[in-house]
Structure formats: structure tokens, C-alpha cells
Point group: C2
Chain length 342, copies 2
DNA sequence: AATAGTATTGCAAATGTTTTCATAAATTTG
DNA sequence: CAAATTTATGAAAACATTTGCAATACTATT
């Protein structure tokens, strides 16, 4: 009751209350098997009574893990990453870690700043989205020898352990789906690829796959839009009112595809009769729009959960080994695409 | 170069490299005005050369702030909160704080566990969504004297400082909008109100407003659905194929409203000619669906940004004063509602 | 040139834990 | 029953900082 008021409830206050030494209190938490059950009970009672809460900052100072993992994403806002964040968060929480989260708005310099900030907090590991990062970031990571993980993308050559999908393949799958359906006049709506290797890989793969079949995209049918339903809708509106409208739209991700769908509906076009639309991602909700969006499924939840699991394993393991996991992609044909063959 | 390898780059390594005492190095960071510019330069050079990164854990142990704020949300996944999280994150980042994020999946016991976890990390403050929390949580907060903030809801009587909107009013506005348009047969789709005071306040206000005009909702027109487009769509499908279909649907939030909209489209109903739909929230994307969703606008971004700003002020202030901010609601009439008058 | 003041710096204690080592008590073993 | 283990505890050093206090060097004042 004494120092109850003073707010100075630390391990020695508990020790005093339980009439043991601080060492014993500490041991009760960290190696309970080493302390007499009776003493343990006394201590736990004191802990309860005083409302003691362990101080991880002090633990961290001893080289113990801080119990935090930093995750830096481009944006929290959109459907795109919120699903991975949720899954990753849940997953590391299960392993007893807490999530430090930051976003950089597709600015790799800000990404660097965030990683640095996390390093000050002595995170036990830092997870980044994508494989492309500033030199400074890469240097920082290797120099500080901090466990790092690349989420979302997969590549054989990734220097960092990674858990994700092959975005190149995603682009190709989308293109091939449209080609198989007989489309030759294809419009493209992608975000700025600067600082966004996901979009970049997808787009180049699309061009490649299209090129293989001798299909090229005229300039006025290739347009840029950020990952925003509203702005994508505008861009699609413009593209669709172009003289010779394409028969299909291939969109950089599902957010853009939704924007395109709404644009088509606004113009009174019937999807998929007048226009086919395909997205990439299969975000929550993509299955439910009317008509259901055809898309390349990237298993965000899986990626997040798996990433969290593997990463915490990696961090807590004595001799961690490099890992890389490719998550499977799948073309989910719903109702926004149709065959041109009659 | 010596201990460059050993990874043991601490303040004394820097001090040694710069040929000064550790105190001076520390002062260079914390009270630069107290140290000679020339020495400062030497030290900064050493910091650069060794790649030193400050250790907040050690700082925290001295009663310095940890520089982290914990935010516990029901879910990260949905559009609902991702916008607030983003805004809050950006806002506290500006003030030099880092965000610890966790979700509880609408389980107040898990909320308690998350707050505790954050307390172990010695967060400088903890922000929660809504005003309803478990007794244990409330006790913990007052006992530990940790700055706490309620986000999203507003209420005069809130014991915690809060920044948010009046959900009671939101429900009322939605109901009144439909009443004004002449609707009397109104269907309701809301989530489980257990552990979700937002939904609870909205729903009770709706019944109240409807009751005032002598309108009551038959049981088969009031149904539950979680905040998921897909499940809401199912629920709406069921409700709309009921014998006597309502002329309007009032949905617990925009996610549900979108589900309802897609359900109507699937059934070939024209919105708003055959059916009016109103949501609550005005999430990103609600403006862009076709037809544009009529809804009660809750300024999520504003709330998040304001909350972050006020809270960091509160935390860093010497004599912090209790604050509560009510954010304005607005009925945004788009194209999913129409007047029944001919 | 002596005094008072100010600007810089270092020493050492303090912060809340964990852990190694030593010690004491209890238990097993021959 | 004595010797050898095992079990349970405490003392103290270590972790990476910050800061009050003291010491020194420098500048301004008379």
C-alpha cells in the first residue's frame, strides 16, 4: 500500500512487498521453473496487489529482445495493404510481438526515415513491402545487421528473405486471360511505377505477354492513375471516351479496376458485354461488386500470416536460415470478362 | 574502425572516437546549445562514421518519453478504420512519435490484453476506438495514470478525452433523411451491437427517430450482418426477397450499404427507383460506386489527424488539460436515395 | 591584474532489469 | 550419518543512457 501511490512500482517494490530479492522476482518471470512454487505465489500476489507491469525498455537494455517488429508499408489507407497488415499483425501477436507501423506514401526516402526510427526503438526486425528500396535503406539494414523481410513480392534473387507473389507473373496471367478470350484492343490503367516495383513488374510483364502475340497498346489507351477508386474512375472515363474504345481494360490492381467498372457503368456500358475488365489483387470486396470482378488473386491474408510466422521464427531462432516463399497466384474469372468469340 | 565490426556502437564508442566523454555526446543530442559547436561537429562526424543509432530503450529508462503511442482498433482490415489509422499515424509521426498498432476483433477482453501489452512497452499514451471498454481496461488506465484517448465517438460524458462524432446523431440523421423522402417501409441492416457502441448508438437513434414519426420496423426487415461487403450482401439478398420488400434500406455503415447495393443490383432492382439505400460513414470509395452512395459523412481523416495532433500535444504538455472534440456530421445525398413523392 | 561571471566539459549516480556467481538449505546416496 | 547433489535464493555487475554537480578554462569588468 505504501508506494502504491507513488507510482514507482518496479521490480524492487514487488520484491519488498513479497519479502524476497529483486533477482527472485525477475526469475519468477523469466525462469519460473527455477523458483519455489510457494515463493512464486507470494510474488504473484504482490504483483497483483501493486499492479506491477513489466518494463520492456529495461529488458531491452539487457540485450533481450524488445518484442517489437516494425512494418513499413506504402499506405495503410487502401484495401491493398490493410489485409496484409491485419494478418501480419495477428500473426506476430501470436508469437508475442507488437507491431510498430508506419507508412511512406510511395516515397523511398521516407521509407528510410521510418526504418531508422524503428531502429532507434530497437525493433527485433523490420518488414518492408516490395523489393525495391533506397541504397541508404539497404545499407542501413546490412550495417545494423537487423533481421529484415520483404513482403508482398517474390523474387529468386531477393537479397532479403521474402514472402510474396511474383508480380511479373501476375501481370502475365492477366494479359494472357484477356488474350485467350480473344481481346486485341486492350486498354491499360496503371499507377506511377516510380518507387513501386509491384506495379512496374506487372506492367512490363503485360507488355511482354501482349507483345508475344503481336498486340501493342496505342498511347491513348495506356493511362496512369494512382491507387484510388475515384481517380481511377476519372482516368477510365477519359480512356473510355476515346475515339476507338478498347474491348478490354487491364488494370494495375483491383482498386483501379473497381474505378474502371464504375466508370463503365456511369457511361452506360454493359460489363462484360461492351467491355471486359480485369484487375489484379482480389481484394476484399472484389468478389462482391456487381458484376463480380475478374482478377488475379494475390493471397494477401496468406502472405501476411505466413510472413509473420516465418519472420518471428527467424527472429527467435538460434541459427536462423534464409527463407523465401512464393505464394501462388490464380486467375479468378468472375463476371467482368467475356470471350469475344461468338 | 575498431569496434565498427563488433556492432557495439554505443554512446561511449562514439565518445571514444570523438575523444570526448559520453556525457558530452549525450548532451549533443539532448541539449545541443550547451555544447561547443566545434565539439559538436567532431561528435557528429564520429556518429556518422560509426553508424551510431540512438537507443530509445535506454532513454526510456530514464523517465524520458518512449516516443510511442499505442492505438487499439477493432479491425485494421476494413475501410472503416484504415483511414483513421493512416491519418492518426501521419499525425503523430509529425510530432516525432511512432505508432504501435493492434486490433481486437470487437472483443473487449482482447482490447484489455493489447493495452496491457502496450503498457509493458511503456507507450506514452494509448488511443482506443469508442467509449465502451471493459472495466479492467478502465481500471488499468486510471491506475497506471497513462494518457488515454477515445477516438471515433464523441460524448459529453466521456471520462476519457475524446475526438469523434456523435453516433447517436449519425443514426438519427440517416433515419430523418429517409423519412423526409417519404419512406415508411424501412429495412435495417446493422452489425451485432455487442462490444460495438458505435453501432449500438446508431441503431437506437434510428429506432427513436422512426418511432417519433410512428414508423416501426417489422422483424423480418431488421437483420444483422457484420462489417463485410460479402456477408452484408447475403443478408440484404435475404431481406429483399422477403414478401413485402421495404422501399428503403438503412445500413449500419457504408460497407454494409455497399453490400446492400450489390445485392439490389444482383436482383435486378434499380437503385434508387425501386429501392433507396443509405449508409453511414462515407468511406473512401462510397462516392464512386455507381450509383453514388447516399450516406452520413463521418470525417475519418479529420478525426484521425485531429486526434493525433491533440493527443501528442496533451502528452508533451506540462499541464495537460482534458479535451473533447466533436466532429461534425453531414448527410451527403448522392444517388442511392430518392423521394417517394411523385 | 584580480575578480566575477559564463561557457564547456567530465565524473558519477541513477534508471529497471537480467544474469552470473556464490552461498545456503534441503535432499539424495552409499 | 556423512558426503555429494540438487534446489532455492541473494549480491552485484552489467546493459546504454541522462543529468546534477563539480571542475576547469575562458571572457568581461573594474
Amino acid at each position: 500500500m505504501a508506494n502504491f501511490q507513488k507510482g514507482k512500482v518496479d521490480i524492487v517494490a514487488v520484491a519488498k512487498a513479497a519479502k524476497v530479492s529483486p533477482s527472485t522476482v525477475s526469475r519468477t518471470f523469466n525462469h519460473p521453473d527455477l523458483v519455489n512454487p510457494a515463493t512464486r505465489k507470494k510474488i504473484n500476489k504482490a504483483v497483483q496487489r501493486l499492479g506491477y507491469i513489466r518494463n520492456r525498455a529495461a529488458q531491452t537494455m539487457h540485450g533481450k529482445r524488445s518484442g517489437t517488429i516494425g512494418l513499413v508499408v506504402p499506405t495503410i489507407n487502401h484495401a491493398i495493404f490493410s489485409e496484409v497488415i491485419q494478418a501480419f499483425s495477428d500473426s506476430i501477436d501470436q508469437a508475442g510481438f507488437s507491431l510498430l507501423l508506419a507508412s511512406h506514401g510511395y516515397d523511398l526516402d521516407r521509407e528510410y526515415a521510418m526504418v531508422r526510427k524503428f531502429l532507434e526503438h530497437r525493433v527485433d526486425g523490420v518488414a518492408l513491402v516490395g523489393l525495391e528500396h533506397s541504397d541508404a535503406t539497404n545499407r542501413l539494414i546490412t550495417q545494423q545487421k537487423i533481421p529484415a523481410l520483404a513482403i508482398w513480392n517474390f523474387s529468386e534473387e531477393s537479397p532479403l528473405p521474402c514472402v510474396g507473389a511474383d508480380n511479373h507473373l501476375a501481370g502475365r496471367l492477366a494479359a494472357e486471360h484477356l488474350l485467350e478470350l480473344g481481346h486485341r484492343d486492350i486498354g491499360l490503367i496503371f499507377p506511377e511505377t516510380q518507387g513501386n516495383d509491384r506495379a512496374q513488374h506487372r506492367l512490363s510483364a503485360v507488355h511482354e505477354a501482349l507483345g508475344e502475340q503481336g498486340v501493342s497498346v496505342p498511347d491513348e489507351h495506356e493511362t496512369q492513375a494512382p491507387y484510388s477508386v475515384s481517380q481511377a474512375k476519372q482516368a477510365a472515363l477519359a480512356l473510355l471516351t476515346t475515339p476507338k474504345r478498347p474491348t478490354a481494360l487491364l488494370c494495375g490492381n483491383d482498386v483501379i479496376a473497381q474505378g474502371a467498372l464504375f466508370a463503365a457503368q456511369k457511361l452506360g456500358l454493359s460489363v462484360p458485354d461492351d467491355l471486359s475488365i480485369i484487375g489484379i489483387g482480389d481484394f476484399k470486396g472484389s468478389a462482391d461488386v456487381e458484376p463480380g470482378l475478374t482478377t488475379i488473386r494475390i493471397p494477401a491474408e496468406n502472405i501476411g500470416a505466413l510472413a509473420g510466422e516465418k519472420f518471428t521464427d527467424f527472429i527467435t531462432s538460434d541459427d536462423p536460415e534464409h527463407f523465401s516463399i512464393r505464394c501462388d497466384l490464380e486467375c479468378v474469372a468472375r463476371q467482368t470478362t467475356r470471350s469475344l468469340a461468338t
